[in-house]
């Protein structure tokens, strides 16, 4: 059954893999100093190597020229291998639930490396500049662009403490103790001087973002711990860079003076702040550029990627912290860019980032495995074991000590369980490996030993800690990520609280961090947004943006989960607008009322065709792409709808009932909902009773649902009512309930089809909209590149 299937799949997969490696391996072989993917030897192409022709050769019909494509071919082969690996793991669900992906990838790397070695070639090593220039940036950009800013800034103090002080402590503790051990050990190790040890300590003490992301992604712990460990892994880059350069510079000299130490501190500030400034500048440039891209939507994602990559490279030019530059760039540009770019661009950016970071991540771990097989090793039991022990001890002591101090300043204190997870989550990874690899053998004769030790530590942390952290999290009952439904009420009250606390701080006369946050927000709104966001979007307050997004999401979920053709039999009817509206006295009706029976029928139909959908969990997980309100097909339909002309919207008022508009007088009053070829679904109308909808309206002040029936153009379709008033009023949608809640984001800037909607202006009061079925291919294509967030 399932087991057999997965075994079969596994066998086929291994077959494919074997073939790939088989074709790849004869081509591979490398010498140490070269680019890992450009391998030196290749089979000599005999056919093309013709000797001087004595006689006329027959025209070669089929020839073989491998050198020409070697480099891209091999790169593609490796990437393909990595991707197939990823595929493979997900075919084996049982295995992937026990062992984290990173471990499996390293094992695969070991196997591949072993295979290559068996064949007789030298396996490629993870070349440091490939790593730093090509493999690392996508991962960091992905992390930075999607960084949860709110949690990050709330815990910034703690994160900085761990990143800076914690890393320094680790570096000196490990380095110092190792030096002591080396001295004590005697013959083989006594040549290792203090500076080398300190350098080694500083390299190995940095928590690695790649490894942390890879492992923590799968265990879904609560956001606080996630952001603490992850934030620490990102911010400690500055410390690592400074310490690395400091010790490397002076290792040749041999001594460090106090001036050097002071310069080192200054350097640290320059490196970190400089990196952030560089990133912020590029971020603002990117945001500014995106303001003008309304006519060239296709290349919008390119700007995002290019500016970020340039930020990283520019920072690296000056030996500033490239990682911090990248994070700053992504975080700064995101709110503005997202307000400017189209839906498709947003999706593109998201998918590309996730894809690249996923591939990078896979490649890194595979290469770690291969490099382990390849790399020159020097195994020294004492050194390696000592390193391992000191690293673990240093981490634990550091975390405990720092938490003790930090808790004095935190409101939400860190419990010992939290501390354990933070300590346990301090994984080392490929960055450390690459940094050691960069060391010059002349200055550091013991580099190979360092390499071996680092690899051991990395393996230990990734395998042992990575594998056991999940059961430990369960065992200790650490709080997991909350599946919270982000509700409009919470959003309203979050905003309310922000203003309230700012107000109280002002009354107290205390300029606390709410005050400054508020000032920053106001500055942002007043000046920055105007510069960087195009058009009307710049004035949209956050609450409204949230509201629109939420409605879109609901509508999409409704579409996805409901099925037009299959009406669920028992539907929990939920609350609708009529339930909360204060009762109004019956008003005079100009037109004949619908009979009671009719009304009941309508209501029943409406109810039975709607389902309550739950908002999906929104979690910060870089590997899952949640159904996005802004996916392609959806938005196109909405836009088509909007363009639908006419629609007489008459709102009728029935005393507290949902109202339905009269159908346009010149179109057949057919009311149906249907699912149209996988596109939007909709609401129910009884196919048998078109007359039910024939109500004229009087204006009223209660919200009503408009069911827009067949448009003049496409008689068999039902369209979304598009509410674009003269003033650009936003259509309203209520929570779904007896009425369908859907809101079409209407652009606030004037659009070319607004002329059609002038008839809507008669209705200044709010309306609800109903989203009906797809009009079909008849509808025109429109410029669907709306700004992303309406």
């Amino acid at each position: 059954m399932k087991l057999n299937e997965s075994v079969m799949e596994l066998k086929m997969f291994l077959l494919v893999l074997g073939l790939l490696v088989g074709t790849g391996s004869p081509d591979m072989g490398s010498s140490q100093g070269k680019c890992s993917e450009s391998l030196v030897q290749g089979p000599q192409t005999q056919e093309n190597r013709t000797h001087t022709t004595h006689s006329k050769k027959p025209f070669p019909v089929l020839s073989f020229g491998y050198d020409y494509v070697r480099l891209p071919f091999e790169i593609s082969l490796w990437v393909l291998l990595a991707s197939l690996m990823k595929l493979g793991f997900h075919l084996m669900p049982r295995l992937s639930s026990i062992v984290p992906e990173s471990c499996l990838l390293i094992v695969v790397g070991l196997l591949v490396g072993g295979l290559i070695k068996l064949v007789g070639e030298a396996p490629p090593v993870l070349e440091s500049n490939i790593f730093f220039l090509y493999l690392l940036p996508p991962i960091i950009l992905d992390a930075g662009y999607f960084l949860p800013i709110r949690q990050f800034t709330e815990n910034l103090g703690t994160i900085l403490m761990f990143a800076v002080v914690g890393t320094l402590w680790n570096a000196f503790f490990v380095g110092g103790l190792l030096y002591g051990v080396c001295q004590l050990e005697g013959h083989r190790l006594v040549t290792v001087d203090l500076l080398s040890c300190l350098l080694f300590g500083s390299i190995i003490s940095a928590v690695d973002p790649v490894a942390v992301l890879a492992v923590f992604e799968e265990i879904h712990i609560n956001e606080l711990l996630h952001i603490l460990v992850f934030g620490e892994s990102l911010l400690n880059d500055a410390v690592t860079v400074v310490l690395y350069h400091l010790f490397e510079e002076f290792s040749s000299v041999g001594t460090i003076t106090v001036t050097d130490v002071l310069l080192g501190i200054v350097c640290f500030l320059v490196v970190s702040l400089g990196g952030i400034v560089v990133g912020a500048i590029y971020g603002i440039l990117a945001a500014f550029t995106s303001r003008f891209t309304s006519h060239t939507r296709v290349i919008e994602p390119l700007f995002v990627f290019l500016y970020s990559y340039m930020a990283y490279l520019s920072a690296e030019v000056f030996h500033l912290s490239g990682i911090m530059a990248l994070i700053a760039c992504g975080a700064v540009m995101r709110p503005y860019v997202e307000a400017n770019i189209s839906h498709k661009s947003h999706t593109t950016i998201k998918y590309f980032l996730k894809m690249w970071s996923s591939v990078s991540d896979t490649l890194i771990f595979i290469f770690l495995g291969v490099s382990t097989v390849a790399g020159p090793h020097e195994w020294n039991w004492i050194f390696v074991v000592a390193t391992l022990i000191f690293c673990l001890v240093a981490r634990v002591l550091g975390v405990v000590g720092l938490t003790f101090v930090i808790n004095k300043f935190r409101i939400v204190k860190l419990t010992s369980k939290d501390q354990f997870i933070i300590a346990y989550g301090g994984l080392r990874g490929a960055i450390a490996f690459s940094l050691v690899y960069l060391l010059n053998t002349d200055h550091f004769p013991k580099r190979n030993m360092f390499l071996t030790a680092i690899i051991t530590v990395i393996f230990f942390t990734v395998f042992v800690q990575g594998m056991t952290i999940r059961p430990l999290v369960d065992l200790l009952a650490v709080k997991k990520k909350q599946e919270t439904k982000r509700s409009i009420n919470e959003e309203i009250h979050t905003q309310f609280l922000d203003h309230l606390l700012t107000g109280i701080e002002d009354i107290c006369g205390h300029y606390g961090h709410h005050h400054w946050k508020d000032k920053l927000n106001r500055f942002n709104k007043k000046y920055v947004k105007k510069c960087l966001i195009a058009g009307e979007r710049s004035k949209e307050p956050q609450l409204i943006a949230f509201y629109h997004k939420m409605e879109m999401k609901q509508a999409i979920e409704l579409v996805e989960s409901g099925g037009g053709s299959k009406l669920p039999s028992a539907m929990p009817s939920t609350v609708s607008m009529q339930n909360i509206q204060p009762k109004k006295p019956p008003q005079d009706r100009a037109l004949p009322q619908l009979s009671k029976a009719r009304e009941e029928e309508i209501r029943k139909i409406l109810r039975t065709n709607l389902q309550r959908t739950r908002q999906r969990l929104r979690s910060y997980n870089r590997h899952t792409l949640i159904a996005d309100p802004y996916e392609d097909g959806w938005n196109e339909i909405l836009i088509k709808r909007k363009k639908m002309k006419e629609l007489e919207k008459k709102i009728s008022q029935m005393n507290n009932y949902l109202t339905v508009p009269a159908p346009p007088p010149d179109s057949p009053t057919i009311a149906r909902a249907r699912l149209a070829s996988g596109e939007m679904l909709l609401i129910a109308s009884s196919p048998t009773d078109p007359q039910a909808w024939g109500l004229k309206s009087a204006t009223e002040s209660i919200p009503s649902i408009k069911v827009d029936l067949a448009s003049p153009q496409s008689p068999e379709s039902v369209n979304i009512v598009d509410e674009i008033g003269m003033k650009g009023s936003q259509p309203k949608v209520s929570e779904e309930g007896g009425g369908l809640t859907m809101k079409v984001p209407s652009p606030t800037k004037p659009r070319k089809d607004q002329t059609t909607d002038e008839d809507n202006d008669k209705e200044p009061q709010q309306r609800l909209m109903r989203c009906l079925s797809d009009p079909g291919p008849a509808a025109e294509e429109e410029d669907e590149d709306e700004p992303f967030l309406h």
Partner: protein, 206 residues
């Protein structure tokens, strides 16, 4: 029960007393106009609600009703103590108490007519005030947002409702329920009041 958890220390009291004196121009009591003179409050969209909260009897007297024209330092301090963070080692019940007290404060801010429920009109007013700085766009969407929010509360608290039923308004219990996700007891605090000192001064409980 009291708000013993919301005690403030002597040092904080002294600082707040100074501020009180500054605001009230050295008089014994504080009036609304005194608070309105604070410059920084001008840009706050909900300043009137905040100021009202200080003069709302419900916030400093048990079973108090209505509002007063002027308050003394004791009342000022009582209102301020709502913004104290809970101590680290407290029991679950105490934490729940604090949550209720703080949410009650928020509830009172919304429930202006003191009928125990937040009606649709009152909620609309809240959202309108929040969006009052956003011009026309704010006004138009405010209603929609408030309606959506109200529907959500009704759906969560009451569940399915027949079309004839009418949801009067958000009661305090419903309010507690919908805001369960926000950790009020830790979010609603001012750091300034968070200094731990050994000496506490119990305040008049609400």
């Amino acid at each position: 029960m009291g708000l013993e958890q919301n005690e403030v220390s002597l040092e904080q009291i002294a600082i707040l007393h100074n501020r009180f004196k500054q605001l009230s121009q050295n008089e014994e009591t504080l009036r609304r106009d005194d608070l309105k003179t604070i410059q920084d409050l001008e840009s706050n969209p909900i300043r009137y609600q905040i100021i009202e909260a200080f003069f709302d009897r419900r916030n400093f007297q048990k079973d108090g009703v209505g509002s007063v024209e002027e308050i003394g330092f004791e009342e000022f301090l009582t209102v301020m103590s709502y913004f104290r963070a809970p101590a680290h080692h407290i029991t679950e019940e105490q934490r729940e108490e604090i949550r209720r007290a703080k949410l009650r404060f928020l509830f009172n801010m919304h429930d202006t007519d003191n009928d125990g429920t937040i009606t649709l009109e009152e909620y609309r007013h809240v959202v309108e005030e929040l969006l009052s700085r956003s011009g026309a766009l704010g006004r138009e969407t405010a209603k929609g947002i408030a309606d959506a929010a109200m529907l959500e509360v009704a759906s969560i608290s009451v569940g399915p409702m027949a079309p004839d039923e009418f949801y009067e308004g958000i009661t305090f219990e419903h309010f507690l329920k919908i805001l369960k996700g926000i950790e009020i007891e830790t979010r609603m605090h001012i750091r300034f009041l968070n200094m731990d000192t050994a000496v506490f001064c119990k305040q008049h409980s609400v």
